[in-house]
C-alpha cells in the first residue's frame, strides 16, 4: 500500500450514511438534551436501537478498517457528541470484553446488544474520587469468596454508567484490585451485570458539556459477581525483588492500558467531529457575510479572520490525519501506542481551541444558545480530558520518543 489519503468506497458510503443520521436524527434533538441534562434522549435511543444498529451500506471491495471506525465516530459526533455517548451500545465495556474476554464471556455479555429486546448499554468504570490519571492507584477491592468475587469501592465519571448499571442486559466493567500490595499487578477487571445487588447508582454529574451523556457515580457495597466474570487471568504475579520477571508481572495492567491504544484514536476522531461541526458552521456563517479565505493572497493581505480560519482548517486536518495514521497502523497490525497518544493529545487540544475560536469569530451569535456553536465549545473540552488527559498523553509521547520507562519520567 502506498501513501494514500483516499478512503475506500465503503468508507465513503459509511461517511454519507452516518452524516445523514447525524443530520436527521441527532441535530434536531441536540439542544433539547443539552438542556434536559439527565433525561433519557428517547428519540435518539429508540431510533438508534430500532434503525441505527444496522451496518452502513457497503459495496464488494476493500474497507478502511479502523479508519472507517474513526470516520463513523467523527460523523456521529459532528451530529452530537453527547448523544453519541448515550448511544445504546456496549461501548468501552464492550471493547474490554472483546479484547480480554473468552468466547464464552463475549457471548454471555454481548448477546443482548444484538437482540431485538430493549436498548442496553455497556460501560467501563475506572476512575475513582482519588484516582484519575493514576489508574494504578485505584482503591476499589475485589475479594475472592467461594465461587464469587466481592467488590467494594466507589467509581466516578463512568460514561454511560446509568444505563449500564440500571437497564437489564447491560453491564459495567469495573477495575478493582485483588491485592493492593501487588500494585498494578493486582488490578483486574470484572464484569458486573446491570442490576447486580450491591451496585448502586448514586447519581449523574452536572457537566460543562456532553450533557446528554450519563456520567455516573457508582458505589459497590459487597457487590458479588461470579468468578467467571473476571476478564483475563486471576493470577497476581507479584514483583519478585531481584528477579528478572519484573516486567511480566505488570502485564495484566499493561494489557488493560493497551486497550487505550485502540480507543484513543476513536476519541480523537470524536473530537475532530465536534471541531468539524463548529468549523463548518463558522465557514458558512462568514461566507453568508461575504467573508471567505483567499488561499492565493500573500499573508500580509489576509485579514485576521482569514488567518484564523486557515489556522483552524490546518489544525483540524492535522488532528484528523494523526488520528487516521494511528488507526491505519492498527489495520497493519503495528504497535501504535505512540501514535494513538499523539492523535489524542493533538485532537483534544486542537478542537478545544478551534471551537473556542469559533465562538469568538461569530461574536454574539456564537455566544447565544440559539445556535449550537457555544454547545460545541462546551462539548469539545472533554476530549482534552477523558481517555487520558492532554498531560497524560504528552507523558506517554515523551516516554516513547525519549525511550524512557515510566520510572524515569513521572
Amino acid at each position: 500500500m502506498p501513501i494514500s489519503f483516499e478512503p475506500t468506497e465503503n468508507t465513503r458510503l459509511a461517511r454519507e450514511h452516518f452524516r445523514k443520521i447525524a443530520q436527521e436524527q441527532m441535530r434536531p434533538v441536540s439542544r433539547k438534551y443539552d438542556e434536559q441534562e439527565h433525561d433519557l434522549p428517547r428519540e435518539w435511543v429508540d431510533w438508534y436501537w430500532k434503525n441505527g444498529r444496522g451496518a452502513a451500506p457497503r459495496v464488494d471491495g476493500p474497507a478502511d478498517g479502523m479508519v472507517q471506525v474513526c470516520v463513523q465516530a467523527e460523523e456521529l459526533c459532528w451530529g452530537d457528541a453527547g448523544l453519541y455517548l448515550r448511544t445504546p451500545s456496549a461501548a468501552l465495556g464492550g471493547a474490554a470484553v472483546a479484547a480480554a474476554g473468552t468466547p464464552e464471556q463475549k457471548e454471555r455479555f454481548l448477546a443482548s446488544f444484538r437482540s431485538d429486546g430493549h436498548p442496553v448499554w455497556g460501560a467501563m468504570a475506572i476512575t475513582e474520587p482519588s484516582a484519575g490519571s493514576d489508574a494504578a492507584a485505584i482503591q476499589t477491592t475485589a475479594t475472592a469468596d467461594g465461587d464469587e468475587y466481592v467488590l467494594n469501592g466507589t467509581k466516578i465519571f463512568c460514561t454511560a454508567g446509568e444505563g449500564a448499571s440500571q437497564v437489564e442486559g447491560g453491564f459495567v466493567v469495573v477495575w478493582a484490585t485483588l491485592d493492593k500490595s501487588a500494585g498494578r499487578a493486582g488490578i483486574k477487571s470484572f464484569v458486573v451485570p446491570a442490576g447486580t445487588p450491591g451496585m448502586k447508582l448514586v447519581g449523574c454529574e452536572k457537566k460543562l458539556g456532553i450533557r446528554a451523556s450519563d456520567t455516573a457515580t457508582l458505589v459497590f457495597e459487597d457487590c458479588r459477581v461470579p468468578k467467571e466474570n473476571l476478564l483475563g487471568s486471576a493470577e497476581v504475579k507479584k514483583r519478585d525483588a531481584g528477579a528478572k520477571g519484573g516486567k511480566s508481572s505488570t502485564k495484566g495492567f499493561k494489557g488493560a492500558m493497551a486497550t487505550f491504544d485502540a480507543t484513543r484514536p476513536i476519541v480523537a476522531a470524536m473530537a475532530v467531529g465536534v471541531g468539524q461541526a463548529a468549523l463548518d458552521y463558522v465557514v458558512e456563517a462568514l461566507a453568508a457575510e461575504g467573508v471567505t479565505v483567499r488561499y492565493d493572497a500573500p499573508p500580509e493581505q489576509l485579514t485576521a479572520v482569514e488567518r484564523d480560519l486557515m489556522r483552524m482548517e490546518a489544525e483540524l486536518q492535522a488532528a484528523r490525519l494523526l488520528t487516521w495514521r494511528a488507526a491505519a497502523m492498527m489495520n497493519r497490525g503495528q504497535a501504535n501506542n505512540l501514535e494513538a497518544s499523539m492523535a489524542k493529545a493533538k485532537a483534544g487540544l486542537a478542537v478545544t481551541e478551534i471551537t473556542q475560536k469559533a465562538v469568538e469569530l461569530l461574536g454574539p451569535p456564537g455566544y447565544s444558545c440559539r445556535h449550537l456553536v457555544e454547545k460545541w465549545m462546551r462539548d469539545a473540552k472533554i476530549n482534552d480530558i477523558y481517555e487520558g488527559t492532554q498531560q497524560i498523553n504528552q507523558l506517554i509521547v515523551a516516554r516513547r520518543i525519549l525511550d524512557y520507562p515510566s520510572s524515569m519520567l513521572r
Binding site: 494514500s4 486557515m310 490546518a314 491505519a328 515523551a398 520518543i401
Partner: protein
C-alpha cells in the same frame, strides 16, 4: 485505501537520501554556513543520486518518475541534513521542472538536457520580490511586449545564483494581468545581480535582481501557471520545513538525554519532556499535511488550498521546534557550536520563501 506507509521503492529512496544527508551533508553544514560556500563535492554526489533528474521527462533523458510525494520525502531528508545545501541540491528543478510542466517542445529540448548531463548544473528562479507584501500570484515585475519580444522591468530577491549556469527563469506580470516566465541569460543587458546576505541559508548564494529594460525574444516566454508553480513550491518547502523541524527536535532530544542538571538528565523533567513531546506531535502532523497536498498533486488535482495550509502550518511548527530546541539547549543553543541557532534562523526563512524549491 487510507494508508501512510511509503512504498518499498520510496522507503529505499528515503533510506539512501537519509544516509547521504547524515554522512555527507550534516558534517559540512556548519562550515558551509560559516563560510557562505556550498560544498561542490557534495552537490556533485547528490547529482549522481539523480534526485532531480529522476523526475524529469524521459524524452529528454530524465527518469520520468515524477511524484510530489516522493519529492516531499526526499526534500525532508535533505533539509534535515541542511536547508541551504538541500536547496542547492534541488535547485536544478527550479528551471527544469517548470519547463517540464509548461515549456514548449523547443524550450525543453534546448534547456532540459543541461540538467541531465554528467555534472551538476544549478538552477535559478526569480519569483519573490523585495517589498512588503510580495505577492507571487501578482508580481510587480512587468513584461511588456515590444516588437516580437518582451521587455522586463522590476526587482526580484532570494534568487538562487550559483555559478555553473547562465540562465534565470524570471516570473513577471504581463499586460493582460496574468503572469508568465521568461528565460533570461544571466549576462543580459539591463540585468543586475547584487549578492544578498540573509539571516539564514547563508551557504546558498542568492542575489537581488534588478531588471531594467531587459530585452528577451518571444521564444524566451514560458507559459507557466503561477498558481501551479506556487503550489508545488509550497509543498516542497513544507516538506523541507518538516526536515528542519525534525533536525532541531532530534538535536534537542539527544541533548536533553545527555545533559544533566540536579543529578539527572534534563529529559527526565516534565518541563523539558513535554516540550519535546509537543514538538514530535506537531512535526508528525505537519508532515502528514504536506504529504496530503503532495498526494493531491500526484493525482492531478488542484492542491493550492492544501499546500497553502500545510505550508502555513509548517512555518509555525518549524519555528516553534527550532526555538524550542534553542531553549532546551539553553546557553548552548545560543552559541554557534551547536545547530539549533542555525535551525532557528533557517526556520524563520520560510516566512519569506516562495518557490525556492519545487516538487
Amino acid at each position: 485505501m487510507i494508508d501512510f506507509e511509503p512504498s518499498e521503492e520510496q522507503q529505499l529512496i528515503v533510506e539512501t537520501v537519509r544516509q547521504f544527508a547524515a554522512n555527507e551533508i550534516r558534517p559540512v553544514a556548519r562550515d558551509c554556513e560559516e563560510s557562505g560556500k556550498l560544498p561542490d563535492g557534495v552537490l556533485a554526489h547528490a547529482h549522481e543520486l539523480g534526485l532531480v533528474s529522476n523526475a524529469l521527462p524521459e524524452a529528454q533523458g530524465g527518469g520520468g518518475e515524477r511524484s510530489a510525494v516522493t519529492a516531499a520525502l526526499v526534500a525532508e531528508e535533505l533539509a534535515w541534513g541542511d536547508l541551504a545545501i538541500a536547496l542547492a541540491v534541488l535547485s536544478p528543478g527550479l528551471v527544469a521542472l517548470p519547463l517540464a510542466d509548461f515549456g514548449s517542445d523547443a524550450q525543453r529540448a534546448e534547456h532540459l538536457p543541461r540538467y541531465l548531463g554528467e555534472s551538476y548544473v544549478p538552477g535559478s528562479l526569480a519569483l519573490v520580490e523585495p517589498r512588503f507584501g510580495s505577492d507571487p500570484f501578482r508580481p510587480a515585475a512587468t513584461a511588456r511586449r515590444d516588437g516580437d519580444g518582451f521587455v522586463l522591468d522590476g526587482r526580484k530577491c532570494l534568487v538562487p545564483w550559483q555559478d555553473g549556469d547562465d540562465v534565470v527563469l524570471v516570473v513577471a506580470a504581463e499586460e493582460d494581468g496574468g503572469a508568465a516566465g521568461f528565460l533570461v541569460p544571466r549576462g543580459q543587458e539591463g540585468l543586475g545581480a547584487t549578492p544578498e546576505r540573509n539571516m539564514g541559508i547563508r551557504a546558498l548564494p542568492t542575489v537581488e535582481l534588478g531588471l531594467d529594460g531587459v530585452r528577451v525574444p518571444a521564444s524566451a516566454r514560458v507559459a507557466l501557471d503561477v498558481a501551479a508553480l506556487v503550489t508545488r513550491g509550497r509543498v516542497a518547502l513544507a516538506a523541507m520545513g518538516v526536515g528542519v523541524a525534525r533536525a532541531a527536535f532530534e538535536t534537542a532530544r539527544d541533548y536533553a538525554k545527555e545533559r544533566e542538571a540536579f543529578g539527572a538528565p534534563i529529559a527526565t523533567k516534565q518541563a523539558i519532556a513535554f516540550k519535546l513531546a509537543d514538538m514530535a506531535i506537531e512535526i508528525d502532523a505537519a508532515r502528514l499535511l504536506a504529504w496530503e497536498a503532495a498526494w493531491r498533486l500526484d493525482r492531478g488535482e488542484d492542491a493550492l488550498r492544501e499546500a497553502t495550509l500545510a505550508y502555513d502550518q509548517v512555518r509555525r511548527v518549524a519555528l516553534q521546534a527550532a526555538d524550542g530546541a534553542v531553549q532546551v539547549l539553553g546557553g548552548h543553543g545560543y552559541i554557534r557550536d551547536y545547530l539549533p541557532e542555525m535551525h532557528l534562523r533557517n526556520a524563520r526563512g520560510f516566512a519569506a520563501f516562495e518557490a525556492l524549491a519545487l516538487t
